[in-house]
């Protein structure tokens, strides 16, 4: 056990899985970083350095790609059908629009369309989220789009420990998994065991226990919820925080149990509001826990606008602890007294 960053946790998961299984193959733009260049061949390790150092250890299991996402994401699907466990990197999830077909019509549907005969063990690692002034085409969340699609699993770790355990589980999983890495979290540190371990897909975690309100928070929003919870506790409002960790499959039971107990729900989702995780989870809870709900479910999301560039706007764009706390206070103030 030692302190590692979210980025190091991911790098370590990749290294340990490549070590364990020579059919685990990693590729993406600049994943080696420098192929064909006159200087250091592994000068980069992906744009943020997540795969840095892997080339030295596993020169036959990591490759650079041309900027051809359809081709190499599709290649991951084809490789998964023919003996590899590829881990392809879609640098920013914002780039899904140039390769979505290979994800949602090919990889995701093989098993069903082929009458159960296919097995497509592939992972697409991708970076999401606002917060670094990367503007409209490099700051989106978009996981609701992937969650919409049957055949895909969607994983979204909120901390370094989960990042490692969920990535190892994703690589060992036999279905196509989209693994969402939050770019702001890369630098965040936490305790991460040195040895390989897995966190099962489809199991939520109760990050904080509380009796008054359930907050379901996605990815980086877990930390916003935690900050809000701390300030709410000062006011005597005890919040329970559920981190789904995987969005598909969604651990509905854990969410429902919590809401049955608290009677109140706030979903915190940094994605666009329409057809989002916030609406998905709110609707599921409304449909399945109606008789336990004491107040209207609340959604805290980004507004229905693209992410803005300017820091002063972007800081308003992303849900923050204050907005979360306000939503909690509103729900507590509303409806049946608790």
């Amino acid at each position: 056990m030692s302190r590692k960053s979210y980025m190091q946790a991911i790098n370590e998961a990749l290294a340990q899985e490549m070590e364990r299984d020579p059919t685990v193959v990693v590729f993406g733009e600049d994943n080696v970083g420098g192929t064909g260049s006159p200087g250091e061949i592994d000068a980069w390790g992906g744009v943020m350095g997540v795969t840095k150092g892997l080339y030295g250890k596993f020169p036959n299991q990591i490759l650079d790609t041309p900027i051809s996402e359809s081709a190499f994401i599709g290649a991951a699907a084809g490789a998964a059908c023919s003996g590899l466990r590829p881990v392809a990197e879609l640098m920013f999830v914002d780039f899904m629009g140039v390769c979505f077909d290979q994800i949602f019509n090919q990889a995701a549907k093989f098993r069903y369309m082929f009458g159960g005969k296919a097995r497509t063990p592939m992972v697409i690692r991708t970076m999401y989220g606002a917060g670094i002034r990367a503007a409209s085409q490099h700051s989106q969340a978009l996981y609701p789009i992937f969650t919409h699609i049957p055949g895909l699993k969607v994983v979204i770790p909120s901390n370094p420990y989960d990042a490692k355990g969920l990535l190892i589980a994703s690589i060992r999983d036999d279905d196509p998994v989209i693994f969402f890495e939050n770019k702001v979290l890369y630098a965040i540190e936490g305790e991460v065991p040195d040895e390989p371990y897995t966190i099962p897909l489809g199991e939520a975690e109760i990050v904080r226990e509380g009796e008054d309100v359930t907050i379901v928070a996605i990815g980086r929003m877990v930390s916003m919820a935690e900050q809000a919870a701390a300030s709410l506790a000062d006011d005597g409002i005890e919040v329970e925080i559920v981190d789904p960790r995987t969005l598909s499959p969604l651990d509905e039971d854990t969410i429902y149990e919590s809401v049955e107990n608290t009677g109140r729900l706030v979903v915190v989702d940094e994605a666009y509001p329409r057809c989002s995780m916030a609406s998905d989870i709110s609707a599921l809870v409304a449909q399945n826990c109606f008789e336990h709900l004491k107040a209207a479910p609340k959604m805290v999301t980004a507004p229905h606008t693209p992410p803005p560039f300017s820091g002063s706007l972007e800081d308003l764009y992303v849900p923050d602890p204050e907005k979360v706390a306000n939503a909690v206070r509103e729900t507590v103030g509303q409806g049946v007294a608790s």
Partner: protein, 335 residues
């Protein structure tokens, strides 16, 4: 080996010996009969969905697959019956599938446009034009990483050749130096639109230059021409020589899909091709005139294939529908 498997079976032949010629003929004849029978059956209204027939293009599938082993892979198109049969998919299973029956090769869930059998190296027909080429890059990578001599072949139409995925895949295969062959089946049309318009009627094979790979044009009606070009490219790929592009100029005998009135076509266009360039006719002429096979041997295959297809259709019509539970199975391995 059931009769159904025999018809679809092919072995890899290093040379065109007698067995190879018989196999090739059987493959082409099976495809032709399968497709012509679908044409007549579709007209009765009993066959659901979109059905795209490969009739007229059989020499391409047969010519390529003759060089492939069971663990080589193929990615096909919406017009996938021919590739599937030639790659060894079960013919009855395919027929059941097209009728949407539970015994179908995809349990009735895929249909004509998604026929696949990974165990046979058939990565699937594809409802998305240009969907297949990225997949074969992955197979090529897999072969390379695992150190096998497998190859993978993707088929794309002349219209599909303009889909971005196809270009990207050619370049990726080139950059990664993969054992992959890109086949363009240029039948002159994408639906109703002519290749003369959609890519100015150029030789699509020319595009290979832009990816540092060999590109050749062959007559897609001529089994022997296809077989030779395919053999060269596949041998090169197996030996680590990287990808190739092969454009086969050919003609489709029926509409884009069944139900197409085809008023965009020239007068007697198909009739003339049938008369002058039909792949089965050319093959028969060549092998008999060269004394490689005799008419009786070929007639026997015709007869066997006819019986197989009759039986397949009869059984498919009677076969049971998928049961309701199947609606939601097989989405995930685990969920």
């Amino acid at each position: 080996m059931t009769e159904s498997e025999v018809a679809g079976a092919r072995e890899r032949h290093e040379e065109l010996d007698k067995g190879a010629l018989l196999d090739a003929y059987r493959t082409m004849r099976t495809i032709r009969d399968f497709e012509e029978r679908l044409h007549t059956e579709f007209a009765t209204g009993e066959i659901p969905g979109f059905v795209h027939l490969y009739a007229g293009e059989e020499a391409i599938a047969a010519g390529f697959m003759a060089h492939l082993d069971g663990d080589d892979y193929v990615a096909s198109t919406h017009r996938g019956h021919g590739h599937s049969i030639a790659k060894g998919c079960d013919v009855k299973g395919m027929m059941f599938e097209i009728y949407g029956k539970d015994a179908g090769i995809c349990r009735g869930k895929g249909g004509s446009m998604h026929i696949a059998d990974l165990d046979k190296g058939m990565l699937g027909a594809n409802g998305i034009v240009g969907g297949g080429p990225p997949l074969v890059c992955g197979v090529g990578l897999s072969a390379k990483v695992r150190g096998t001599d497998q190859v993978a072949v993707s088929f794309t139409g002349d219209g599909g050749a303009n889909q971005g995925t196809v270009f990207e895949s050619m370049n990726l295969a080139s950059a990664w130096d993969l054992p992959v062959i890109f086949v363009i089946e240029n039948n002159g049309y994408a639906e109703a639109t002519a290749q003369a318009f959609s890519s100015k009627g150029i030789d699509i094979a020319k595009r290979a230059d832009g990816f540092s790979m060999p590109g050749v044009v062959v007559d897609g009606h001529d089994f022997f021409a296809v077989h030779e070009a395919a053999g060269e490219a596949i041998r090169r790929a197996r030996q680590g020589g990287g990808p190739s592009l092969i454009e086969c100029k050919v003609n489709r005998y029926y509409g884009h899909f069944e139900g197409d009135a085809q008023t965009y076509r020239g007068e007697n266009e198909v009739e003339n091709v049938r008369k002058e360039k039909d792949c089965l006719m050319l093959f028969r002429q060549r092998v008999t005139s060269a004394g490689l096979l005799d008419e009786a041997e070929l007639d026997k295959i015709d007869e066997e294939v006819k019986n197989l297809i009759d039986e397949a259709v009869r059984e498919a019509k009677e076969a049971p529908e998928p049961s309701p539970e199947n609606l939601t199975t097989d989405v995930y391995v685990s969920y």
